[in-house]
């Protein structure tokens, strides 16, 4: 970004002293408003952002920028209140987008009331202007959040496009709130059952950074006790995500520790039915393919309960079968049986 000193120099040289708010107003409202600085082109509102952040900015410049912001804000609030969508066609909202970016970046108390007024105008039109709604909520989130703001964000948890953002705000307000647990549970459900485009694994990881793995596991335990199918889907999703996202690995590892596979697999009916219906013998390669991901411990339990002879390779398995399909009688040269290491 342009330096604060240089921004001040540019502003002072460009703004006419008799109507100084005209220059910042033009920056906010003119199309293609970028400027070249060094080798880089920057959004022109960066000049205003840096002037507002500079403690050495003279009051006449500071006031001129605030006045221009309020003027643009008022113009657009009026247009947004109009029931006719034609007043604000696509591509005509760029001054408001610039203004929201400025309000977001400077985080000035002087602009907070303007921001609240813009929220009141934009939020009811969120369906028509989703980009503006995202910008205004982002700007709002940059200002200090109070406990009472949680009620506001709770409403957005119910809206697919805003749910993830609202959840992160709620976590930043109070990660230990009992409601957070319910929210996370709800978000997992929305993603897995209703195909919301949120990334609940990412959000879980964000929460983990604030409250620790033990409390996150408590949430999963609560989900498991209420909805085992949802829990299994969550576990599967986390396992898949962890393969390419290292952020998720600690959750996956903790889940594996808390819910070892063997327990689940032991009672997995399809595994048992497969083993009981299998014509003996079986070679370990085929067994591994059919029961991929199964633990050695469980494998030996299944082999035992199904009373099936398992051989160490397909070659030894084939040599154990006579041409008529019967099994050879055991001899000292019999093919090697598979013995689980466990």
């Amino acid at each position: 970004m342009i330096s604060q000193r240089e921004a001040l120099r540019i502003f002072a040289s460009q703004a006419a002293t008799n109507e100084p708010e005209l220059y910042p107003y033009n920056i906010l409202t003119q199309k293609n408003s970028t400027f070249m600085y060094g080798w880089f082109d920057f959004p022109a509102e960066d000049i205003l952002v840096q002037c507002l952040k500079n403690p050495e900015t003279p009051p006449w410049i500071f006031d001129a920028i605030i006045a221009a912001c309020k003027k643009v804000g008022a113009e657009f609030s009026y247009k947004l209140l109009s029931p006719k969508k034609d007043d604000l066609q696509d591509g005509q909202t760029f001054p408001l987008e610039r203004l929201l970016r400025l309000v977001h970046l400077v985080k000035l108390g002087e602009l907070q009331s303007l921001l609240l007024a813009l929220m009141a105008s934009i939020i009811p039109r969120a369906r028509d202007f989703p980009g503006l709604a995202r910008s205004v909520l982002s700007a709002f989130s940059a200002y200090p959040q109070k406990q009472s703001d949680a009620v506001f964000w709770e409403e957005y948890i119910e809206i697919p496009d805003f749910a993830a953002f609202a959840f992160r705000q709620l976590v930043s307000i109070n990660p230990n709130s009992p409601q957070i647990k319910e929210n996370l549970k709800e978000l997992w459900k929305k993603q897995l059952k209703q195909n919301w485009e949120i990334d609940a694994a990412f959000l879980t990881e964000e929460l983990l950074n604030k409250i620790g793995i033990t409390r996150v596991m408590d949430i999963f335990e609560s989900i498991k006790s209420q909805d085992i199918a949802l829990f299994n889907e969550i576990k599967k999703t986390i396992e898949n995500r962890a393969q390419f996202d290292p952020r998720i690995v600690p959750i996956k590892e903790q889940m594996e520790k808390a819910y070892p596979k063997a327990l689940k697999e032991l009672f997995n009916t399809s595994n048992i039915v497969y083993m009981l219906n299998r014509e003996p013998p079986i070679c370990i390669e085929e067994l591994n393919t059919k029961l991929s991901g199964i633990s050695e411990q469980l494998k030996s339990v299944l082999i035992e309960i199904s009373n099936i002879e398992v051989y160490t390779s397909s070659a030894s398995w084939q040599s154990a079968i006579l041409p008529d399909g019967a099994m050879k009688k055991p001899t000292s040269e019999s093919p090697k049986k598979y013995v689980s290491e466990n």
């Binding site: 600085y37 060094g38 080798w39 977001h104 995202r134 700007a139 949120i198």
Partner: protein
């Protein structure tokens, strides 16, 4: 640079010109990074021209001076042979990284991950900026149709440059880093490039109005580290018109 009295006619011509001419004059006056011997010889040779009829002629005269001795006036923007290099590095202010995020990607970051739009990059915790950078580098980036400083070198050559990033910024007189906490370095392959390079030079502002030299750098602008191959013109860095590229990775370097 201080324009001596014997070049006042030349200065007056540029003053009478259009906004671009005036910007070039401003560039020259505000460029405090040109070494004294270069400055003196430049104005001495410039004063020999007596056909300062218009601002365009005045600019052409200045360009003729620097082209008369490309080695002394640092290469005068020769085209860099692309075949010399395998990997391209590009440095930008850290805060500009957000500017590379498309609207579609911004929506994904907001809707899927709950990340704010248009936030100050340095306000985010580093694990989140790393995540965003990872997301950005998945798509081709359009660096815009303006000149940029890039390094066209093998990675081993680049390492000393990258280890002293502040020195490089100062040496090249790059603006826009003053209030930055971090610099972003984009890495991409030569095969990604369709545009040509030219080397940066002392007095680059003479025939390019958009060039704005840094006014308080300690090093001489345009002085560069030597490379060994003749086709590299002794310069590890170059300027190019940007195009759409697929970056192989983006690194953030602390500037403080």
């Amino acid at each position: 640079m201080h324009i001596p009295k014997n070049c006042s006619a030349w200065k007056a011509c540029l003053k009478k010109g259009d906004s671009e001419d005036k910007q070039i004059l401003h560039n020259i006056i505000s460029d405090m990074c040109v070494p004294l011997d270069v400055e003196q010889r430049f104005f001495s040779e410039l004063s020999a021209y007596d056909n300062q009829a218009s601002s365009k002629t005045a600019i052409n005269n200045a360009v003729s001076v620097i082209r008369s001795d490309p080695k002394f006036f640092t290469c005068s923007g020769n085209t860099v042979a692309l075949r010399s290099f395998q990997r391209i590095l590009r440095i930008e202010p850290g805060s500009r990284v957000f500017g590379h995020i498309s609207e579609a990607k911004k929506k994904i970051l907001f809707v899927r991950f709950g990340l704010p739009i248009d936030t100050a990059f340095d306000d985010l915790p580093s694990e989140l900026t790393d995540f965003i950078i990872q997301e950005i580098s998945k798509d081709p980036l359009t660096f815009g149709n303006s000149f940029r400083i890039v390094w066209v070198t093998d990675l081993e050559e680049a390492q000393p440059i990258l280890n002293s990033i502040l020195e490089v910024i100062d040496r090249l007189g790059l603006l826009g880093f003053a209030d930055e906490q971090r610099a972003a370095i984009f890495f991409y392959e030569r095969s990604e490039l369709v545009a040509s390079f030219h080397v940066p030079r002392v007095l680059d502002g003479i025939n390019w109005s958009r060039f704005r030299p840094v006014s308080d750098c300690s090093a001489a602008s345009g002085k560069t580290l030597p490379l060994t191959k003749p086709e590299e013109f002794g310069l590890p860095e170059a300027v190019h018109r940007a195009c759409e590229v697929k970056v192989s990775r983006i690194e953030m370097r602390t500037l403080i």
